[in-house]
């Protein structure tokens, strides 16, 4: 698994109600795909227990090049970080068929 197989895995944890707006943005910024799981949690904006829609989180994973990861991060930070429960983190992963991502 050499360096050519390395891509960035970007993980976004945020309010479920943003899903419909975030996904088109990710694609516009170059993401070739994404994976979503339902989540709950707690952070600086308090507990989000997923008891009902308004209180639910989603966990979005995007595998992409470092450049795209940085573009997505910058965009989301600028547009959503101030007003929405959201954290973003990333690390490198080895992938199969890196040309896909």
């Amino acid at each position: 698994m050499n360096d050519n197989n390395t891509r960035t895995l970007l993980t976004i944890i945020t309010e479920a109600s943003l899903e419909g707006r975030l996904l088109p943005e990710l694609e516009k910024l170059g993401a070739q795909g994404y994976t979503i799981t339902d989540a709950r949690g707690k952070g600086s904006r308090g507990a989000r227990d997923a008891d009902w829609d308004a209180d639910s989180n989603i966990r979005i994973e995007v595998i992409c090049s470092r450049a795209i990861a940085e573009a997505i991060t910058a965009r989301l930070q600028e547009k959503y970080y101030d007003n929405f429960a959201m954290i973003i983190f990333s690390h490198d992963v080895s992938v199969l068929r890196p040309e896909k991502f």
Binding site: R45, D49, D51, W52, D53, A54, S56, N83
Partner: protein, 314 residues
């Protein structure tokens, strides 16, 4: 005799405050909400079929006006007495100008178990009241700015689950008519009160978690949540009498006015006034106003409607 659905709500509050593991799975809460919204829509639609649309126009208009006005009353109170930020004051005002379908359902059940009838097109007024306060709230927060994405907001409102199901139910009930709906009644009518009981159980749990948030947000929200409900109820009841509604219908309109949204408005505000803190408005709406209306308000508003009617009514 206390209605057992109220006891389910109290059970939820008690379990929530006792940090019980009791919880309705989110998907079941969704299911139960969908059934309630469709039930209310269908029932209203069937009745709409029976009357000429034109006759309803004055009521629709009057109620629209009320939905536009209530947030204009709430906003200065929140901004200057409550010292909330502009966005927060606007958002809370919008919640209180709009309505809560759950409260409506409890009121309808209350009327049924007390044998009180009301104008059956009430669900139409419910749908109509959901919307104007949202527009006012956005304008209060933003002013008349060019860059407001009204298309997005309109989509958010009409494509939201609540309005879609209420309106869809109304139209289906209207097209299908009373006999058409008969085979659907076991699910949508007969189970209504049981489903409402489950809904209130979960609402109690949610309210309990909001009640504990009240500690942080001070007593102003409690006073506002109750005071604004009472004020709006008086406005609603007055309007009901003025429109010539029956005592039951007057009480229903008072309840609608007194109730505060916790589905459609929060979703729309998140999109259009994202800097408003949703915790504030939901704590007021779910932690104060919903329990107040369910436990105390509804019988009070009915009593009030009776009195206003005997004083001013036809």
């Amino acid at each position: 005799m206390i209605d057992p659905i109220i006891l389910f709500f109290i059970l939820g509050i008690v379990a929530g405050l006792a940090r019980s593991e009791l919880r309705l799975p989110a998907q079941i809460y969704d299911f139960v909400s969908i059934l309630l919204l469709l039930s209310i829509g269908l029932k209203g639609g069937v009745e709409l079929a029976k009357q000429p649309f034109g006759a309803l126009a004055p009521q629709v208009l009057a109620v629209l006006l009320m939905g536009l006005s209530l947030p204009l009353v709430a906003f200065p109170v929140l901004r200057y007495l409550g010292r909330f930020k502009r966005a927060d004051a606007a958002s809370i005002a919008a919640h209180y100008g709009s309505v809560s379908v759950g409260t409506y359902a409890v009121a309808a059940a209350y009327m049924a178990s007390n044998g009180v009838s009301f104008e059956e097109h009430m669900p139409l007024l419910l749908v109509i009241l959901e919307i104007p306060a949202i527009v006012v709230g956005i304008l209060l927060a933003r002013g008349l700015r060019r860059d407001m994405q009204w298309g997005l907001v309109t989509h958010e409102i009409f494509a939201g689950k609540g309005i879609m199901l209420l309106l869809g139910g109304l139209v289906i009930g209207w097209v299908a008519g009373p006999e058409g709906l008969v085979p659907l009644e076991p699910l949508f009518i007969d189970l209504f009160k049981g489903i409402l009981a489950l809904f209130l159980l979960e609402m109690g749990l949610i309210a309990a978690s909001r009640i504990s948030a009240l500690r942080y947000h001070g007593p102003f929200l409690v006073v506002f949540g109750i005071g604004m409900s009472l004020f709006s109820a008086v406005v609603g009841a007055g309007l009901g009498v003025a429109l010539g509604l029956s005592p039951g219908g007057t009480a229903m309109l008072a309840t609608l006015a007194a109730s505060a949204s916790y589905i459609a408005v929060p979703a729309a505000m998140r999109i259009s006034v994202p800097e408003a803190n949703p915790t504030l408005s939901l704590t007021a709406s779910l932690g104060v106003t919903f329990p107040f209306n369910v436990l105390i308000g509804i019988p009070l508003y009915y009593e009030m409607s009776l009195r206003i009617h005997s004083a001013f009514g036809a």
